[in-house]
Amino acid sequence: MEPVRRVVGRALPLDRENVDTDQIIPSHWLKRTERTGYGAGLFEAWRRDPAFVLNDPRYRGARVLVAGANFGSGSSREHAAWALLEGGFRAVIAPKLADIFRGNALRNGLVPVTLAMPAVTALMRAAERDPALEVVVDVEAGAVHAAAIGLHEHFVLEARARDALVNGWDEIEITQKHAADIAAFEATRSAWLPTTTRRAT
């Protein structure tokens, strides 16, 4: 994963709640076996509406997605994070993000930002008024800035997640440093736990 320290760019205001992963990337895109090639599927159904905000040329190149509560709800598909990244987004700001989506975003360098409702609303309105509004997501400091509207907000990012983003760490490599702990744990597991190989006929 590429390190992500700061995200700087325009904000796309997607003023809808409960944007589910079936909208972000419809399931027929999930038949592929690659990690790339999902950009054209991003919000595929909504994009057919010329008035959909993603079709507005003034927001071309936006790197920050500002959305309503419960963004990324629904399925666990990591393809949602992949599609957003291919769509140019590097951060998502919402009052609430779905748990699995948040984890998927973190593991792919898409910065998940949860802010209180008033701050998200302020950003949403400002981005609607001014498509060129510059938003800065400072991962190291855990802060969002939109200087033009005097918005400076902190967001919660666990130290582990922050370090992984900032350094672009491979999580499996980190875990493998705990190989001895894992082996010790395995030695204590109960004998009744099931395996695919032990089966009564």
Partner: protein
């Protein structure tokens, strides 16, 4: 020792290491399917890694498999299924492919095989992994990078979730099912009511449910936004598990029972949030919108957005437009084009029996496309032994092979644009059952009665 909840006990028993607020959890069972795993296996290959514990990994094919030979899979789906076969072989993972008697929806087959037991940690690259919580296990969905991480290490970094309980006391009224219990819960708490928490379902109405019903409830925990859902194991659980192919036997069974009986939440343990629901207030639910919280009871009407709380109005207007519904229409007056009885929510034996009883000796309303898709080939075989295939076929239903089918639009079973469907599945998102399709979530009994009546109905309306 301080009193702990069921979820806390299981969590504590699986912590391998901790680092800065995150726990490295050991994973007892990793379920794998064809859609969310190919990129993970490729990642292992690129890094020269192997699957650490293949015998704790179980794979099947369910999402994009065709459920009838009349509609073969498209080439891209075939490529994905071939990749699953290749990956299982290369990495030594047990796979139940299409054609195997054990094949089926991943969340239906693991409990059937006795691979899902109380007190375990279970993950899968699929959000409805929460289903397995019905056994008193911590079970949750993960993304593909996490699938790769579990394959490589059999562990997962997780922040400890919050605790929450939903207590449903009293007896469910006649005709009100486990599906209605969970739809009613989501209607009350909203689709993000459980974000960040593991929800334990408690109370006499939950205790009275069969394992099939408890799985339905836990299945839709994700529609509540919860990380996972669970029900404390009891004699109903133990009776279900005993004798299954991978369940412990003899002395191991006794040891397991001993451990399982210590799992339930201690008296005096506190939850971060407690919600009480009176079972007697629940009715059969029908969703009218495009998220699972947008529902009313079968006796209700399509809501008027202006009468809803301000923050729900805009979404309701958009949903009604998508669903092509007019505010004030009685739900029973809404006619459907298709009926789907299937999915990991409602395609177990009890669901098929319930739906079968409703349609027995009746005919599906002409013009309606109705299909029954058993959750697994084992469910199908048992249903056929009970003659349910004849019941459904005689009524005019299609009787299919196991798979996710019309629960999601990535296999040949899809709604056409504009088609309206009464579905026993779990998500009514826009386009979920196919682009432009309109989904109403209901219980198996309501789905069956609706197929006969042609519009939303209860069995007693027929």
């Amino acid at each position: 020792m301080t009193a702990r909840t069921l979820a806390e006990k299981i969590w504590d028993a699986h912590v391998v290491a901790s680092d800065d607020g995150a726990d490295l959890l050991f994973v007892d069972l990793h379920l794998v399917h064809e859609v969310t795993s190919p990129q993970a296996f490729d990642g292992l290959r690129q890094a020269g890694r192997r699957v650490r514990r293949p015998e704790l990994t179980l794979a099947t094919m369910d999402h994009n498999v065709p459920t009838t030979s009349a509609t073969p899979a498209d080439p891209i789906s075939i490529g994905q299924m071939d990749a699953m076969t290749r990956n299982a072989r290369d990495f030594g993972v047990r796979l139940y492919p299409v054609g195997a008697p054990e094949q089926g929806i991943v969340h239906v087959i693991a409990p059937q095989l006795g691979m899902t037991l109380p007190g375990m940690t279970i993950v899968c690259g699929d959000s409805h992994t929460s289903t397995h919580g019905a056994f008193g296990s911590i079970a949750f969905g993960i993304g593909t990078s996490e699938v790769e991480h579990v394959l490589a290490t059999q562990t997962l970094w997780q922040r400890r979730p919050g605790t929450m309980c939903v207590t449903v006391d009293g007896a469910l009224p006649a005709g009100v099912s486990a599906k209605d219990l969970i739809l009613g819960t989501i209607a009350r708490l909203g689709t993000s009511g459980g974000v960040g928490a593991i929800v334990e379902y408690r109370g006499s109405a939950v205790r009275a449910l069969s394992m099939d019903g408890r799985m339905t409830v836990c299945n839709m925990s994700i529609e509540l936004g919860a990380r996972a859902g669970l029900v404390a194991p009891d004699d109903v659980t133990f009776a279900f598990v005993e004798g299954r192919p991978h369940a412990p036997r003899g002395a191991a069974w006794t040891a397991a029972l001993d451990a399982w009986r210590r799992l339930p939440t201690d008296d005096g343990a506190a939850f971060d949030r407690e919600v009480h629901i009176d079972a007697r207030e629940l009715r059969p639910y029908v969703t009218w919108g495009t998220n699972p919280g947008q529902s009313v009871t079968i006796d209700g009407r399509v809501p008027d957005p202006d009468a809803l709380p301000a923050e729900q109005r805009e979404a309701a207007v958009r949903a009604l437009r998508y669903m092509d519904l007019r505010a004030g229409t009685p739900i029973r007056d809404v006619a459907v084009d298709a009926v789907f009885v299937g999915s990991c929510t409602n395609a177990r034996l009890e669901d098929l029996r319930t739906a079968g009883e409703v349609v027995r000796g009746r005919r599906v309303r002409s013009g309606i496309r109705a299909l029954v898709v058993p959750g697994s080939m084992a469910v199908k075989a048992q249903a056929e032994r009970e003659g349910l295939d004849r019941v459904f076929r005689d009524a005019g239903f299609d009787w299919r092979d196991a798979g996710c089918s019309m629960c999601l639009g990535m296999n040949p079973d899809v709604l056409r644009p504009g088609e309206r469907c009464a579905s026993t599945s779990n998500r009514n998102f826009e386009g979920r059952q196919g682009p432009g399709g309109r989904t109403h979530l209901v219980s198996p009994a309501v789905a069956a009665a609706t197929a006969i009546a042609g519009h939303f109905a209860l069995p007693e309306d027929l």
